[in-house]
């Protein structure tokens, strides 16, 4: 699924990290922890094909097999929840029926025709999860996914995490993902 050797990231003269090895098979979970600014997000963006490493070799699945949820839910605020998911369903060649199913699953069906800019941060995060799962990715990359989620949102996230697929998750709440974790990477 993922095979990375000697991964490094630099921004100009600043070295974010170096010498990271990652190997992840189907069903494995990599738990990434560390302080703010330690390089977690940079690594996750590389593993989600959103950035290139400054050094090292890396094998990743194709873009259409990756689902990435970053610090932002990555939905258009001026579009409704339904319009956002229908747009991405088209881009991912996903049947429209799946949009309704996900909106139901994440408790957003009633709010489907409301603009996402009016959503609470927790609702936006749930919609972000809908977007990420739309195309049933085999690798899920989640950066601080518990952000803004209430108790019910966290239950929904737990169910997502339990699904059989490779998972990379960066979090300040490692206990929540500890049971599923097969590998750990701690940034200092």
């Amino acid at each position: 699924m993922i095979r990375g050797r000697g991964l490094a990231k630099r921004y100009g003269d600043r070295r974010v990290f170096a010498g990271i090895d990652v190997e992840l098979a189907d069903g494995d979970t990599l738990l990434v922890t560390g302080a703010n600014g330690s390089g977690k997000t940079s690594l996750l963006r590389i593993l989600a094909r959103l950035a290139l490493p400054s050094a090292g070799s890396l094998e990743l699945p194709a873009r259409e097999r990756i689902g990435y949820l970053g610090h932002e839910p990555l939905v258009y605020r001026e579009l409704t929840a339904l319009e956002n998911l229908v747009l991405f369903a088209r881009l991912y060649r996903v049947e429209r029926e799946r949009v309704g199913m996900l909106l139901e699953r994440f408790g957003l069906w009633e709010a489907r025709n409301e603009r996402t800019g009016t959503f609470s941060r927790g609702m936006q995060q749930r919609l972000g999860l809908c977007r990420v799962l739309l195309h049933e990715p085999s690798l899920l990359v989640l950066d601080e996914p518990t952000n803004a989620l209430d108790a019910h949102g966290l239950e929904l996230l737990d169910a997502v995490v339990e699904e059989p697929r490779a998972l990379v998750v960066a979090t300040h709440d490692p206990a929540r993902f500890a049971r599923r974790a097969t590998q750990r990477l701690a940034f200092t």
Binding site: L50, R63, G70, L74, Y76
Partner: protein, 202 residues
């Protein structure tokens, strides 16, 4: 092609809801033409008036282009679009189509205003404006995406766009339709071919 249409439709819908770009473009172009009307002495030549029309159109386009990627920049939507398995040139083409639509909407108001203030409008000028819109959208969308990725984005877009708009003004004022068509073809191919690399790590 359906990806391109979906992305262009999304941009038009965003503007319909937000109403931020088009009203600003309309106000700017009308204000510029009004200022030119009072600034130019009576009996000014057609060529001088056309020069001012093209100046107004290029700066109006620049105003629109600075807003073209606002949602992608402020809401991080480039990440979501880049992750999608669609052809990345569809992102450029969809955005360019929406830019053409905004320019055309501004010109529907600007050209009659120019005709009323100055010397009327010929079919050649209208054709030149239509051709120029394609070139402006092609190159402006590419530079808009580059500006989003850069640090000094407010400076970068005018610095990149205005020099490349000089041939458009030359072709527009002179009414050289073949020249504008050639410009469109060259820059459309260049922008299409390079857009993927521009947004690779935006």
């Amino acid at each position: 092609m359906s990806d391109t249409v979906a992305l262009a439709r999304k941009d038009l819908l965003l503007e319909l809801r937000a109403k931020e770009t088009l009203p600003a473009m309309l106000l700017f172009v009308l204000a510029a033409l009004t200022i030119f009307h009072f600034a130019l002495p009576r009996g000014t030549s057609d060529v001088a008036a056309r020069g001012l029309l093209w100046s107004a159109l290029v700066f109006t386009a620049l105003l629109g282009l600075t807003r073209a990627f606002v949602a992608e920049r402020e809401q991080g939507m480039f990440d979501a679009l880049v992750l999608a398995p669609c052809d990345r040139s569809a992102i450029w083409l969809g955005k360019a189509l929406s830019v053409v639509a905004f320019l055309a909407a501004a010109e529907v108001v600007a050209l009659p205003a120019f005709a009323a203030f100055f010397h009327g409008l010929g079919g050649r000028t209208i054709a030149a404006v239509a051709l120029a819109d394609i070139g402006i959208a092609a190159v402006g969308t590419l530079f808009g995406a580059m500006a989003v990725a850069g640090r000094a984005r407010e400076l970068l877009l005018p610095l990149l766009f205005l020099p490349t708009a000089i041939p458009i003004v030359v072709g527009g004022v002179g009414g050289y339709l073949w020249f504008l068509a050639l410009y469109d073809a060259i820059f459309a191919v260049l922008a299409w071919a390079t857009f993927e690399y521009v947004i690779a790590e935006a």
